[in-house]
């Protein structure tokens, strides 16, 4: 995971620069629907729906195709899916790297979501461990977080193993008396948060934003020094002179990627997708509307697009005029 992650840093800058705004382009094959991947989480549904509706406004046909996030890159490389609108650099299948290297997939820039990952806790935990959000506080209240599986160490719920083990790395990095327990899935993470909030029980968990659960369960991050390249390579860096990873998580990039043939087949669409931007402030309320208030993705996105034409109309207009 780690090597893959660092590999992304290099690619991004160039990809982001390559796409400027304001070139009108050919429409291309408007009779063939453009297939957008719909993955497993609501934020991605919102993003994809916005992208799809923008393409429709430009005059394209759009098809939403459900696809497992970890398993869709083959299909993206083969053109069975045309675009994936929300790929998280912190958690991406090795297959993506292979497809990208083979030139079958093109990266088309960041989405604009300022994602943050870190070690987090529901707000009520601050009462159990009063020193929070300082990381040093965890050293003293580890016992509060201990469970049968981790005794005598405290328990830190880590990402599912296939997303990497950032939690375990922080434990060694800061030399905390904790033990990382990998979750099996995102559902397991959410369930942990939900149960802890209901039971008012202690919980320390690796988590990220934007995520609807951030507001639903009032989640706070533990303060960690900003993660930089040096921290991951030089033990001397940071508070612990003997270990790497004594800092926050590597910054996460959320970016978009398409089948390499997309730009040739639908030039204007490629431009729209490349220029689509969405911020946490815009996406997170929509996620809340869907997951907390129970509205459908369709009505939420339609309402937002109607209320905020300035956020998307210029992008469409620039591409087709």
């Amino acid at each position: 995971m780690k090597t893959v992650k660092r590999f992304w840093f290099g690619v991004t800058a160039t990809a982001a620069l390559a796409t400027g705004m304001g070139h009108a382009a050919e429409m291309g094959a408007i009779e063939t629907p453009i297939k957008l991947a719909v993955n497993e989480w609501t934020g991605q549904h919102v993003t994809t729906r916005i992208a799809g509706e923008m393409l429709k406004a430009a005059g394209y046909k759009v098809e939403y195709v459900t696809a497992g996030y970890m398993n869709m890159y083959q299909a993206l490389g083969n053109g069975e899916i045309d675009a994936a609108m929300e790929i998280w650099s912190s958690n991406v299948s090795d297959e993506y790297g292979k497809q990208l290297a083979a030139g079958k997939v093109t990266e088309i820039g960041d989405l604009g979501l300022e994602a943050k990952e870190g070690i987090a806790y529901p707000a009520h935990v601050a009462e159990i461990c009063p020193g929070l959000p300082a990381v040093e506080a965890l050293r003293d209240c580890a016992g509060q977080f201990a469970t049968a599986e981790t005794l005598p160490a405290g328990r830190l719920v880590d990402y599912p193993a296939d997303w990497g083990t950032p939690g375990a790395e922080r434990i060694t990095g800061f030399d905390l008396p904790f033990k990382a327990v990998p979750a099996g899935s995102e559902g397991a993470l959410i369930t942990e948060l939900r149960a802890s909030t209901e039971k008012k029980s202690p919980l320390l968990i690796t988590f990220w934003q934007p995520h609807w659960a951030m507001s639903a369960y009032d989640i706070k991050f533990v303060d960690l020094p900003v993660g930089e390249e040096a921290c991951f390579e030089d033990p001397a860096w940071g508070s612990n002179p003997n270990a790497t990873h004594d800092c926050g998580f590597a910054p996460t990039r959320v970016f978009k990627a398409t089948w390499s043939g997309l730009a040739g087949k639908w030039p204007a669409a490629a431009e729209i997708l490349a220029n689509l931007q969405l911020s946490v402030e815009e996406q997170q309320p929509m996620m809340g509307a869907v997951d907390v208030d129970g509205k459908s993705v369709e009505e939420t996105v339609d309402a937002w697009m109607q209320a905020n034409p300035d956020k998307w109309k210029p992008v469409v207009d620039a591409a087709i005029q």
Binding site: E40, A67, D162
Partner: protein, 688 residues
Amino acid sequence: MSAARATPQGTGPAPRRGVIAALVVLAVGALCLALVPHLPWLGGFPDAWALPVTRWVDTGLTWFLGLIKPGARMLSAALSYPMTWANVLLLHTPWPLLVALVTALGWYVGGLRLALLGFAGFSFVVASGYWTESMNTLSLVAVSVPLALLLGGATGILANEVPRVKSAVQTIMDVMQTVPTFAYLTPLLLLFGFGPVVGLIASAIYAAPPMARNVMLGLERVETDIKEAAVMSGASRLQQLFLIEIPSAATQIMVGVNQSLMAALSMVIIAAVIGGFDDIGWEVLLTMRKAQFGAALLAGLVIVAFAIVIDRISAGMARQQPRHSRRIALLIVAAGAALAVLAWLYLPAAGQIQLLVPAAEWLDARLTQFVRAQGAALDAIKNGAMFYGLLPLRIGLDGAVLPFTWGFQWTPGMSAGFYAAAAAIGAFIAWRGGVAAGLMVPILAGIVETGIAELPWPFVLIGAGAIGWVAGGRKLALYAVLMLAAVLLSGLWAKALWSLYLSGAAVLTCAILGGAIGLLCALSPLAWRVVQPICDMLQTIPLFVFLIPVLMFFQIGEFSAFLAIIFYAIVPMIRYTRHGLISVPPDLIEAATSSGATTWQTMREVRAPYAAPTILLGLNQTILYAFAMLVIAALIGTTGLGQSIFLALGQADVGLGVTSGAAMAILALVADRLVQGFAAERRRALGL
């Protein structure tokens, strides 16, 4: 130790064998125990000794898959046509008409009872609000099942016609059913590309073996008289087969069709992990991700509704019984059509009807309430089970007994006392006549003291070999040792031991608990009436759904995984125990009763021993189920082979996925053969 007193006095070969085997295992165990501090390579298998099997498999398979990929892609393209047709057909049929069609079919096959069942089942689907997703699922099943039937039927006939390939076919089917489906999803993805067709093929692969087995069984059981009559009528081999033998085996073959259908349905959810298709399985996964238990349960129950309706109607078709009035069936369809026209005008589209959503939300709220109120009690349960059960089993008493858990520290002195006590008990049992059983006591004590996950590998190998020898002779012993050695060399040994520990603990619990419930159900028809629908549901509902409450109650960790496995794997134990106990010939029961045996005496002296082989088969199924569930339990967060399989799926790592899957299958197959060996021995002893 007790061995010194042992004087082999068994009457048959099996008891004497048991004594020798136990002696050998005890000696190896003691030797390992003594040597591990000095020779650490005895404890954990050194990584340096493992072969890079994973890499070889990866290279080999990638090459091979690349080779057949063009053909696979053509097949995949060809299959997408019928799939689309089925999908269009189902989605464009108005829902009242479809409900009426199912009701009419139910009537025709099984009268009022099945008609009501069909109506209720499909009405539930309508009310759930998942109509579109359900129809997508149905269209997948509608294509994959005929494919599976064709595949399985052809395989069964082939095995029947060419006796030489029969055992090979059996082995392949065993493997197909024991390798966790998740493990072969990755190669399938590479081969067939993306989308519903992969799910279709995966479920066809999974659903074919039951058909093949039943075709083989059915053809095998055609009476010789009938076959000879066909030959004497001058029929050619093909005529014999298709005009005489297959029709004669029709009932058994229909059982195969029924089982295939159920297998395909249960695969739907697993195939959804790939995505590409907005089906009901995908819906379950989505709601799971949001930890919405109510919604996930609702979506899961849609699958249950399908399963029950399809199961009962296809089972009704398998029975040869008079059909009910065709006229009434037509009338029902007509009513449905009329309603469909009405629906066109007035009723909402099926997807808009969401009558059950409030119920789902209510359930979710109740769950929250319960967790809030019972948090402390739930934690106490979990801690008790962990401290006194699972932890000692995993890392042994010496590791698990700490001031935090048991209130004191385990010392070497306690170890010595523990072993001495075990030896004394063993010696006493041996003195009373049970030499092999007496020897088992110190062996078990050694396992508990060391912990399954930390057992020295020579001990595990020799132990498995010894059990194999007792259960089925030298061949079985060799089989067990060689298979386990393969896992050892693959470098997945530590993970395999971990999986062994978790499934072992779960199987043990299932055997005790399931056996007790099965016994209760055998004694009381009322209890069975309560337990049976629960068993049905546990076997058809996507078990993912239950992961949510389990997680809410007990958090991520092995205890939750342990519970999830038990939920699933306990069912066959209950069923087989009950079935074995109640299907004792009435002759024997009457003989016991008229000898003055009370109900309990009959149970203990006659029913239980007679049912032993059947119960062993149940145990066997429970073991296989536990291994199957181990992969799903990885969704909760476990280490072990299940986790490797998921990791591989995420990373499209064919080598790791297939090797871990194979390791899992090996563990399951070895356990299967060992238990089968014992069951066969018992059956022989009973003269069955």
